[in-house]
Subunit: 224 residues, 2 copies
């Protein structure tokens, strides 16, 4: 994104809309997660596996952002849960207004988990709050262990790092320990899960993480 | 990047500076290439192998863009050719003014090949002309064959597509034929090379491509 005076104004307006979304999610007891990554880190495959793991009738929906195509929505809709494509038409990130507009088509009473797949971009989406409870950054081990240092804002703003495609570890020069250390350096305390959407390795832990967050939200809403 | 009225103004100013750079490169007989890709597609490793393949004394230099670190410049400088890091400080792409500023430190008379490694981002750098003779887009086979369709502007504006990390083909669900078809669909006639910086496969063809472009530039300058 350009560093220009207008930037601040746009971000302020985005933050305002995001705060409204956050209040609505809270009001309806919806856990909203914003999945971010480079192109090709595997967000869509991870979401496919995640949706497949839910029983029919689970109150889950997905918004998937893309610059041009609706391929991802087509893939994700196969699992039978509500899916909407947001085509940004050239814009390199989702913004809160796009989410607000897409949600107008849904009854929020019927949801308790909203997964947002952002545009594949490790830079710009880090600046745009979508009203999510947490950002989840997905990093493929094929990308290299230096990425947290090179794109620190995204890792700093994410609560969870999913190290994806760990099935490739025998075939790529990726130092898992260094990757973890780099992530902790830019974001001390960040949670890290190792998964492979291809083999299924680690997916139960991701699923447990999701369910724990949903349960925590329910408890906080039930508290007097 | 944001779609705002200011955008047009910034791009127009960038185009003006880029045109000046292009004229200077032409005047000095410098082939300038702008390497673009997702984070982790392997631009830096490819450049390391490329620099290692040049004899000492070749008139080659590299500008490498990054948001935060200077890790890439440290890696690239080992080959002994002039390397400068451009740290964008949060900005998601290089622009022509950054190139102009970096070049002030060098005598262009001493160069005939300038390789620019852009910030890892398949979206925003596509809009910023750096005065290059051509963009070269690097796509790792770990990223998936759908990427040309999802990030069409970048593939449309690149003359050459380097399919990198082909050593991983036995281990990833990547359809090489489909990837080539997708690239040709968004950019009919785009040249495509398959390489692996890890094993060296295909690097001679990339090297030949570079040398052919340098020779063509020399011929065009020598023509009456």
């Amino acid at each position: 994104m350009n560093v220009v005076p207008l930037e601040g104004k746009i971000l302020k307006e985005n933050d305002r809309v995001a705060a409204e979304l956050r209040a609505r999610f809270q009001e309806h007891g919806i856990l909203c997660l914003n999945l971010v990554s480079s192109p090709g880190a595997g967000k869509t495959s991870l979401l496919e596996r995640t949706l497949e793991s839910f029983a029919p009738g689970e109150r889950v929906a997905v918004l998937t952002g893309d610059i041009q195509t609706d391929n991802d929505a087509v893939r994700l809709a196969r699992a039978g849960f509500p899916v909407q494509q947001i085509t940004t038409g050239g814009t390199c990130h989702l913004d809160a207004r796009m989410i607000e507009k897409a949600l107008a088509a849904w009854n929020l009473e019927e949801l308790d988990l909203l997964l947002i797949e952002n545009v594949g971009n490790l830079v710009c989406p880090s600046n745009y709050d979508l009203g999510e409870a947490a950002k989840v950054v997905v990093l493929s081990v094929a990308e290299g262990e230096d990425k947290p240092l090179k794109y620190p804002a995204m890792f700093f703003r994410s609560e969870l790092l999913i190290l994806n495609k760990v099935d490739l570890l025998p075939h790529v020069p990726f130092d898992l320990r260094q990757a973890r250390a780099n992530a902790q350096r830019v974001h001390p305390g960040i949670e890290i899960l190792e998964v492979s959407s291809l083999t299924g390795e680690g997916l139960p832990r991701w699923r447990d993480w999701l369910q724990a967050r949903r349960a925590a939200l329910r408890r906080s809403l039930a508290a007097p």
